[in-house]
Amino acid sequence: MLMISRRLGLYLLTAWVAVTVNFVLPRLMPGNPIQNLIGKIQSQVTPAEINAIRLSFGDTKQGWLGQYFTYITQMFHGNLGISITLGAPVTSILRESVPWTVGLIGLSTIISFVVGTFAGAMLGWTRGSRFDSLIPTATFFQAVPYFFLATVMLLAFGSDLHWFPVLGAYNQTVTPGWNWPYVLNVIRYAELPLISIVLSSIAGWMLGMRNMMITMIGEDFVLMAVAKGLPRRKVIFHAARNAVLPSIANLSLAIGLVVSGALLVELVFNYPGVGDLLLQAVLNADYPLIQGIFLVITLTVLAANLIADFIYLALDPRTRTEAAV
């Protein structure tokens, strides 16, 4: 339990850093960013929005500390400010786009981890066989930027071969809601983005697992299992269970990377998640929205990390007694 409380403390601290980055950065900007920004937007900004911008840049009579507390209190009330370009509260904008992202990226991360780890275990076990030639290919896919692979896939399988629908998350002709046509349609539209995220991220899991598996096979307990005459399936499972631990320990790192890459995949596919929203916010210098998205992504990644920690705890009994490093 010590491990979980330590990790929880770490994640709380990380969340606090993310919140503070959001608070400090606009105040460090040189010049008069508020006027620049209002000038840059050049759209119909209501006085309320201008006021919101002023507040977010710290243009009040309050001192920094006072502003900081106001900022934190506002945040706990779910108030992340008003989007400059969309004119709506950031919270309600995020409520519409976050489920898409969590669904798409969450599912693809799980698929990629499970399939990649399984394939890596097999590659490690059968090392030296012709399957080893998979490794350079996997390395190449690992090095391709996510958004580039997504673009190529979109071009090849979407617009050229018409195997998959392109652009968006569902066809405009179906009515959103809990009905079969809609659900099937959503799944159909998610296939290609999902495949491209899995392809981009699977190699890392595969190679890591392969290396650990090869290292494990050299251990005495595996030799012992073979000597006892256990069926091969059981021996592989025995080794794999131990080899998978570093992969899960690394999950927390990888989730951040995968999410970063996957946000851009959303962009390529015009998927209505936060990736597309983030790009629009960046292009329009919509700082409240950028900050809101950053905060939500960070919190989601931290939550995913916590889940990974629980899985690790369940798989490795040693961590239940000792403090994890």
């Binding site: 030296g128 090095a143 930027p145 071009l155 290396n211 970063s260 960046v282 960070t298 490093v325």
Partner: protein
């Protein structure tokens, strides 16, 4: 101390070859580019031809020249960010691992926080606040990228330093009365070299991805040519959907090749650190010739003894031919 000698497997040789090619391009790219990459001299949207190997953009710029010129900015920022991040990783990781105690606790906490923060969104937030002028400054962009990329290396280096700290030779140096920094730099640092190299490769790989991504979403100056800005212009002119593969495929493939080269080189370092991963650079045919089992058997790590190791360079050469 022996110098770091990488196993001469075909993978490592391929990695060195690829990286060497792109490093050469970094140096000579801008000089051998046939045209000025920014000038709109030609008929727009031409396909590849003898005069324009990769065709022209919708503004009539020569794409091949952009690719050659862009290599420099891409590689320089990636290398710079990689070096700075690795430097930070060494300072923080080795200090934490060596001193232990409260220093270790606080530095570990710092790197754990940076590990848990998702890198790209943080980069985007920081970068979107940069004044437009400094977005074309490769140095500033490199520094910002390194800020988000050092933590992983620090963690690995800390772990290795901790395991070295209590070894006998370090203990001996301490008893002799060597100064702390001397122990750190002369006794411990050389043994960190393989891990350091691997962490450098990873951070360069990360930096190239981060830089290209920032450029692709338009957060760096779009007037500096790098492979990311090429993709940015290709995307914003709908090159992928209008079938102009010669515009957006080459920069992406270049990025992927550099990344593959780095990863292949890293295989060599992995095999150096973890001997069980080694195959001694032998294909299955050579294995049979040397009388080794074709597939590695369980619990037995094949060891190549003296007469064989002298023959390895010869066989490795025959592979590359």
């Amino acid at each position: 101390m022996k110098t770091l000698r990488l196993p001469r497997s075909p993978k490592v040789l391929a990695g060195i070859g690829i990286l060497g090619f792109f490093l050469l391009l970094t140096i000579i790219g801008p000089y051998i580019a046939p045209y000025n990459p920014s000038e709109t001299l030609f008929i727009p949207n031409m396909g590849p031809s003898g005069a324009h190997w990769l065709g022209t953009t919708s503004l009539g710029q020569d794409i091949f020249s952009q690719l050659l010129v862009g290599a420099r900015a891409t590689m320089v920022v990636a290398l710079l960010a990689g070096l700075v991040a690795t430097f930070l990783a060494v300072v923080i990781g080795v200090t934490a691992g060596y001193f232990g105690g409260k220093t270790d606790d606080s530095l570990t906490l710092l790197s754990n926080v940076f590990l848990a923060l998702p890198g790209l969104p943080l980069l985007i937030v920081i970068d979107s606040y940069l004044p437009v002028g400094s977005r074309s400054n490769a140095f500033i962009i490199g520094l910002v990228i390194s800020l988000t990329g050092w933590a992983w290396g620090a963690r690995v280096l800390r772990a290795q330093t901790m395991s070295l700290r209590n070894r006998d030779f370090v203990e001996a140096a301490r008893i002799i009365g060597e100064k702390r920094y001397r122990i750190m730099f002369s006794e411990i640092a050389p043994n960190l070299l393989p891990i350091l190299a691997s962490s450098l490769l990873f951070t360069v790989l990360y930096s190239i991805g981060a830089y290209v991504t920032l450029a692709y979403i338009g957060l760096t100056s779009t007037s500096v040519w790098n492979w990311g800005t090429m993709l940015y212009w290709a995307q914003s002119n709908n090159a992928p959907l209008s079938g102009e593969w010669y515009w957006f495929v080459p920069p992406g493939v270049c990025i992927a090749l550099v990344g593959t080269g780095l990863a292949l080189l890293n295989f060599g370092i992995d095999e150096f650190i973890n001997p069980r991963l080694r195959e001694a650079g032998l294909t299955s045919k050579q294995r049979r010739k040397l009388g080794l089992p074709r597939r590695v058997r369980l619990g037995l790590t094949p060891v190549l003894r003296q007469p064989v190791t002298t023959r390895v360079p010869a066989t490795a050469k025959s592979v590359s031919q």
